[in-house]
Symmetry: C2
Subunit: 316 residues, 2 copies
């Protein structure tokens, strides 16, 4: 059993990761400032001996002993969240990376960075392979996240080159599932919430832009395999589901699965909204023991819809 | 007359800027940690009433009062210098930007960022216009500088959007002139030093890669016009000389102007060395009162060679 730090552990992805690691018997420390995360996401773990929650902001240094692994997930991920305080987002990405890398080095721990498909920006190469350098605006409204995450990758590689720090970088493509924040403004949470409430489904732009949706369990499996890979494979490696859908298709599927009477309405597309996104996962398959997504969109949406249907939205 | 802070003021570009601003009668504060700069570059200003030198590292906060303008130039610029301590370079770019932006906001000062053509990486669009998003590796050995500078631009724009901070961003293309560090490893200083000493001229790769060389006085003029532009034009704006030369052509010109007997030798090209680089300066011409470079390569090289010929290289 290992001692494992999960930053951002009370968020959507982090809570699934903590649940799985605690279930496997590891000693898990969850660090979160609760900016976009919820204690309720990890409430079921609070009474376990091998789980601990620390309210802490990773922009400040952190001292912990005896760590074997660090999963660095702390960062707002939804466009509405990360654009709310863009300088704060940059600091979380960059000061957070510096602080967690220093902690990994001190402990001799392996550290995984939750990077993102946003490193490719609005890609001109399709599907995206890891060697594609991206099409990112460094001055626009998404830059605080995209450039923050790119700079974090740079810091990871330089820490590895300078200090031998054991790094692992996964570039995560759109992921969904239970524990998504119902008001994070992301497309899956918006559409399901709207469909269940019978409200209009808001498509930004013409709905012909594409995304590829990965169910959370598939991602968690990839991250765990990545941290534990023995051959010092650092990445960056894409993790995502290569099945590509238009946003219009997603809306239709959600309406069908919820038997909703909601109507589709169109709203203006956000600035710099990527037109298409689909991972090439050849590298992940090769390096992560044949890993590939096992849960396809309808199956994953059914589970997510069930979660949303049981939420008491008046509490948010 | 204005009170003006120049960070990196003891470096190559900063020393020219300080000299000009002091000459115009402004109250100039030069801040530098002397990592790659020299006090000798500003020695002739030390006894002026309107000049002051502070040894300070911009990665740490700085408190100053009554500033009207800030030129943020502090950052190692030569590949050999910025790759020596890559994490330090990232911190200078990013923590430096945060600290100087906070200082600008506090003072209500206009702040200019010395950004770079490296924001375009190894460009696939030629010549480069400001809206080109670049071809930058975020994981390679140049990333600490390229991504650091891109992240600084992001912070500038977000500070402007969040706090109304008055920002000006210039993307500087290769610039040369007196006060270049003789051992900075950059191509102009290497070739001139080698030619004057009769040593071999070291061309990395086949010498067919291109650069466009701007004489320092032309850049200083552009920066001053940029800071003082009245119509809140933030940039980013390219400043450089659009005349493009291969590195082989540069070697031949330097050999001719120095009457050198040096031979050309070829060495391996560095990782991620950009293949071509030339600024499109349409925007600068339009927004900076018809600004364009006035000093062409041979004229500028003659002045630079004269400077190098008078250096006592045993002191470096
Ligand atoms: N979900 C996706 O589709 C996706 C895609 C690409 C990358 N990612 C990355 O995965 C990670 C987790 O994303 P998520 O979808 O779970 O988002 P989330 O917002 O649900 O979780 C992020 C968590 O980090 C916490 N946090 C934010 N700033 C912090 C700080 N400064 N200090 C401590 N904690 C902080 C939040 O409170 C939250 O609990 C993020 O790094 C994100 O960039 C997610
Ligand atoms: N010369 C060029 O061709 C060129 C091209 C593009 C951009 N730039 C930018 O222009 C600026 C000046 O470049 P230069 O050619 O004069 O380089 P330089 O190395 O001669 O000058 C940089 C100065 O900054 C100082 N410095 C570095 N880190 C510092 C820190 N943390 N705190 C305080 N001072 C620090 C150095 O001591 C030095 O005096 C840099 O920001 C560089 O990125 C230069
Ligand atoms: O090194 C830092 C700098 C800031 N913050 C926090 O980050 C949040 C957002 O600060 P922001 O950078 O947006 O503030 P600004 O610099 O714009 O005033 C605030 O709660 C700060 O306390 C932090 O944790 N570490
Ligand atoms: O209510 C919504 C929310 C999002 N989108 C679109 O869905 C895609 C995915 O957006 P999201 O914010 O989920 O994540 P992104 O992949 O853009 O980071 C983008 O094209 C959005 O414009 C939409 O049409 N309606
Ligand atoms: O916020 C910071 C962090 C570091 N440094 C200085 O930056 C230099 C380079 O530190 P580096 O980041 O390379 O150190 P590391 O993090 O790799 O130990 C050192 O002299 C530090 O004192 C600084 O001035 N401000
Ligand atoms: O002694 C040298 C130094 C540099 N270069 C080449 O000259 C170009 C400009 O290099 P420099 O380091 O001056 O600046 P860069 O524009 O690459 O930042 C690059 O293609 C280098 O590989 C060279 O051939 N010989």
């Amino acid at each position: 059993f290992k001692r494992i730090l999960v930053t951002g552990g009370a968020g959507f992805l982090g809570s699934h990761l903590c649940t799985r690691l605690v279930g496997e018997g590891h000693d898990v420390i969850c660090v979160d400032n609760l900016f976009t995360g919820q204690k309720s996401n990890v409430a079921h773990l609070m009474d376990k001996d091998n789980f601990e929650f620390i309210r802490h902001d990773i922009r400040e240094p952190l001292q912990l002993e005896g760590l074997d692994q660090i999963y660095n997930l702390a960062c707002p991920a939804a466009p509405g969240h990360y654009q709310w305080d863009p300088i704060g987002t940059m600091k979380t990405c960059i000061l957070g990376a510096i602080n967690m890398l220093d902690l990994a080095k001190y402990n001799g721990a392996t550290i995984l960075q939750a990077s993102t498909s946003e490193c490719y920006g609005d890609p001109l190469v399709h599907p995206q392979t890891e060697d594609y350098r991206g099409n990112v605006s460094c001055t626009g409204p998404r830059a605080c996240y995209d450039e923050g995450k790119r700079a974090a990758e740079t810091l990871f590689f330089d820490h590895n080159r300078m200090h031998g720090t054991k790094i692992r970088i996964v570039r995560i493509f759109n992921t969904y599932g239970p524990n998504l924040h119902p008001y994070d403004g992301r497309v899956v949470s918006n559409f399901i919430r709207q469909a269940l409430a019978g409200e209009d489904i808001t498509i930004y732009g013409d709905g012909q832009q594409t995304r590829s949706f990965q169910y959370v369990d598939d991602l968690i499996e990839a991250m765990i395999r990545m941290v534990n890979n023995e051959d010092d494979f650092t990445g960056p490696v894409n993790t995502g589901n290569p099945h590509e859908f238009t946003i219009r298709e997603l809306a239709d599927i959600v309406i069908r699965l919820t038997n909703s009477e909601s109507k589709i309405v169109h709203m203006p597309a956000p600035v710099d909204d990527p037109v298409m996104r689909r991972p090439d996962i050849t590298l992940a398959k090769e390096k992560l023991g044949g890993w590939e997504p096992t849960i396809q969109l309808e199956e994953g949406l059914v589970k997510t819809i069930e979660y949303f249907a049981n939420l008491d939205l008046t509490k948010w």
